[in-house]
């Protein structure tokens, strides 16, 4: 097994500053730029295509043209209201917010316990926790679906739910309110906090919870932010599970909305592309706002979705 922590350590010493060997020939340099620029164009061409098509008329989408004659911003209005992307958008925002609040609470607490408290059975429990990362989603998906439907045990809920979470908010949030990766990431950080801080806090009469809230969290902004970013993307981009548990549009998130638009709406490509743009805008804003942290977070953890 490649020791993952070794890879992590290797990549944690990132210096993004270019300091490799130099190419002296300007011709070589020009060639490098050419390759890099072609790569960049290929990377963003589909985005250009998406935005451009989203502003076309239906007729223009079938024609061989790269730009609309007159940008049809009304497509966005139509997608937002008639194709219900506005509703799905709101659903996605609520689902993601609730999931993140739950996930952060559970993983900060658990990460702290595993990182800073010696307790009976901690290593066994931690190993069990990590082992869940190996199991593919397709194995757990069907039992989880039965669980959500209330087939295995009746689930708590509002009157009228009948013990089932199908088409209700908890089905989309609760299963994602804890995961091994987030706990692992936070534990790795918490474990490095010097014991002197804890000794000092204890002398001042603080317990673990106060120490966690007042000392540990303020100095753990970076790892918490990393967990937050990854979980935001995971929650916002989730598709397969929401597809299973939302048979009605009540809590349908954007990704499933986009997919049902593909299957139900037929050839209105311009609305579909407008919907796709709406879907990616929050992710893009988040990405550009936290770019450095984002890429470095990925580089240091080696996370792959």
């Amino acid at each position: 097994m490649a020791n993952p922590s070794q890879t992590l350590q290797a990549s944690s010493a990132i210096s993004t500053e270019a300091s490799g060997p130099r190419f002296n020939l300007s011709l070589g340099k020009a060639l490098i730029y050419l390759i890099l620029i072609v790569g960049g164009i290929l990377a963003i061409l589909p985005f250009f295509w998406m935005v451009s098509t989203s502003l076309m008329t239906l007729g223009e989408t079938i024609n061989k043209q790269w730009l609309p004659k007159v940008p049809q911003f009304s497509n966005y209005v139509e997608a937002w209201t008639e194709a219900k992307f506005g509703k799905y958008f709101l659903n996605s925002v609520i689902i993601t917010t609730v999931t993140l609040a739950g996930l952060l609470t559970t993983s900060i607490l658990a990460g702290y316990a595993f990182g800073r408290i010696k307790f009976f059975g901690s290593s066994v429990l931690f190993a069990i926790l990590l082992s869940t990362m190996m199991i593919p989603e397709s194995v757990t998906m069907i039992p989880n679906f039965l669980m959500i439907r209330g087939d295995i045990i009746p689930l708590p809920g509002l009157p009228g739910w009948g013990g089932s979470w199908l088409n209700h908010l908890p089905a989309l949030t609760v299963p994602f309110m804890a995961n091994a990766f987030s706990i692992f990431l936070l534990r790795q950080f918490f474990i490095q906090i010097p014991d002197e801080l804890w000794d000092a806090a204890r002398i001042d009469g603080a317990g673990h919870l106060r120490f966690l809230l007042q000392v540990v969290l303020p100095i753990s902004k970076a790892p918490v932010m990393t967990v937050l970013l990854f979980s935001f993307i995971g929650s916002w981009n989730a598709f397969l599970w929401p597809l299973l548990v939302t048979t009605k549009p009540t809590w349908r998130p954007l990704m499933v909305g986009l997919w049902t638009f593909v299957t139900e709406a037929g050839p209105e490509t311009q609305l579909l592309m407008a919907g796709a743009v709406i879907t990616i805008i929050p992710i893009l804003i988040l990405y550009f706002a936290t770019q450095k942290q984002f890429t470095e977070g990925i580089a240091t953890t080696g996370l792959k979705g």
């Binding site: 097994m1 490649a2 890879t7 290797a10 010493a13 990132i14 270019a18 300091s19 060997p21 130099r22 340099k29 390759i35 890099l36 790569g39 960049g40 290929l42 990377a43 985005f47 295509w49 998406m50 061989k64 609470t105 559970t106 993983s107 607490l109 408290i117 010696k118 307790f119 429990l125 869940t132 199991i135 593919p136 397709s138 194995v139 757990t140 069907i142 039992p143 039965l146 669980m147 091994a180 706990i183 673990h208 919870l209 981009n237 598709f239 397969l240 299973l244 990704m255 986009l258 997919w259 593909v262 579909l272 592309m273 879907t279 992710i283 893009l284 580089a299 240091t300 080696g302 792959k304």
Partner: protein, 392 residues
């Protein structure tokens, strides 16, 4: 260590000792309280389902639980256990050939040829055994599930080496003293962070069968005929080069190749970022020393960069390979009926068995088989490539 502890607690008054123990209990309770919420969720939706999946797979279970049928779901999937044994035996033969081949280079030179020939013979025998075992399985097994495995393999072989090679080149070039390194990195990374459902929807229109689709405009630019892309079930080799190969060697369909393009497009940026981090950790003195010794750029790349990057490359290949066997979302979104199931990789097939055919127990058994396949592939990859990794 033990003596100091006992001397401390021995020296303390009974009251103090009780207090220490009480504090210890309190610590334990706090810890358990802290992990409780996370473990409730993970037990319910992460651990329990594993056991329940195994349980479900032994029942005839269509929407509701039916009768206990033992291993029948598994037997129905793989067809013939004898076939499975022969199939795995073939892989063991290939492993043996690989082992002999490696040892051949350690032995005396005059025996090299004989041993090499032996290894080649065993290798061929292994290939033959695998294909006869596979024949037995496919004759009695689940055509959809077994048929999806070579498709998944095509997808993996099509995407993983390409995305890693392209990323290595881009990362290496970016690592030269380049203006706007961060800008390029940001561009390359965009496809990876964008929701895969959204980009897959866009690729559905780009690789459309319409003559005006972007992919066809690209072909027209080079004076080629428009193609049906995602809508084309015929093998890629047949469509593009007129090759008529049979069985496994026919290769992926045009539709699956279109999805391969999507896979490469999505993951190149991620790999580039990881490679860049890896390049940053190679000590610069090594390059300077090589330059003094008269090494050119290529030598430096071949003998310094590549070996020192090998842990990163290995890690990326492993993760990517496993990822292709789990890949679902984009393939599900880009699949069209006209592709006639030629893009249905294993995870998509399992989902169909569950969602469309409502065969819950059967689908669970298939998912568990997929898990073991992924596990086996991980172990093989570790054995074969893990040894070549240079950890410095």
């Amino acid at each position: 260590m033990a003596t100091t502890t006992s001397s401390i607690s021995g020296g303390a008054s009974p009251r103090k000792r009780r207090r220490i123990r009480w504090m210890d209990v309190q610590e334990q309770l706090t810890a358990y309280l802290f992990i409780l919420p996370a473990f409730l969720v993970i037990t319910m939706f992460g651990l329990f389902p594993i056991g329940y999946a195994v349980y479900m797979s032994t029942f005839r279970w269509r929407v509701r639980k039916g009768s206990f049928i033992g291993l029948e779901n598994y037997t129905k999937t793989v067809g013939d256990w004898k076939g499975v044994a022969i199939f795995i035996g073939g892989f063991l033969l290939i492993g043996l050939a690989y082992w002999i081949w490696q040892n051949a280079f350690r032995s005396l030179s005059n025996r090299k040829l004989i041993i090499g020939t032996l290894a080649a013979l065993i290798l061929m025998a292994g290939g033959w055994v695998i294909s006869s075992g596979w024949g037995l399985m496919i004759a009695n097994g689940d055509e959809d599930f077994l048929g999806s495995l070579p498709r998944t393999l095509y997808y993996a072989i099509g995407t993983v080496p390409a995305e890693i090679a392209i990323a290595l080149v881009l990362a290496y070039l970016l690592y030269q003293k380049i203006q706007g390194q961060e800008f390029f990195r940001m561009l390359y990374f965009l496809p990876y962070i964008t929701p895969v459902v959204a980009t897959a929807v866009v690729f559905r229109t780009i690789f459309n069968s319409r003559p005006t689709s972007l992919a066809n405009q690209f072909l027209a630019f080079f004076g080629k005929e428009p193609q049906k892309w995602l809508f084309e079930p015929r093998p890629f080799n047949n469509v593009m080069f007129g090759l008529n190969l049979e069985g496994f060697w026919a290769g992926p369909s045009m539709a699956l190749v279109s999805i391969v393009f999507f896979g490469i497009w999505t993951y190149v940026g991620y790999n580039t970022v990881i490679f860049l981090a890896g390049l940053g950790s190679i000590p610069h003195e090594l390059y300077e020393a090589a330059e003094i010794d008269g090494a050119n750029k290529w030598h430096a790349f071949r003998h310094i960069t590549l070996p020192l990057l090998s842990p990163v490359t290995f890690y990326l290949a492993l993760i990517a390979f496993i990822g292709t066997f789990k890949a679902f979302n984009h393939i599900y979104v880009m699949r069209v009926p006209s592709a006639l199931g030629t893009v249905d990789v294993t995870s998509v097939t399992i989902f169909d068995t569950f969602y469309k055919a409502n065969q819950y127990g059967y689908a669970t058994a298939q998912a568990i088989i997929l898990f073991f396949i992924i596990l086996a592939l991980t172990l093989i990859q570790n054995k074969v490539f893990g040894e070549r990794v240079f950890y410095g």
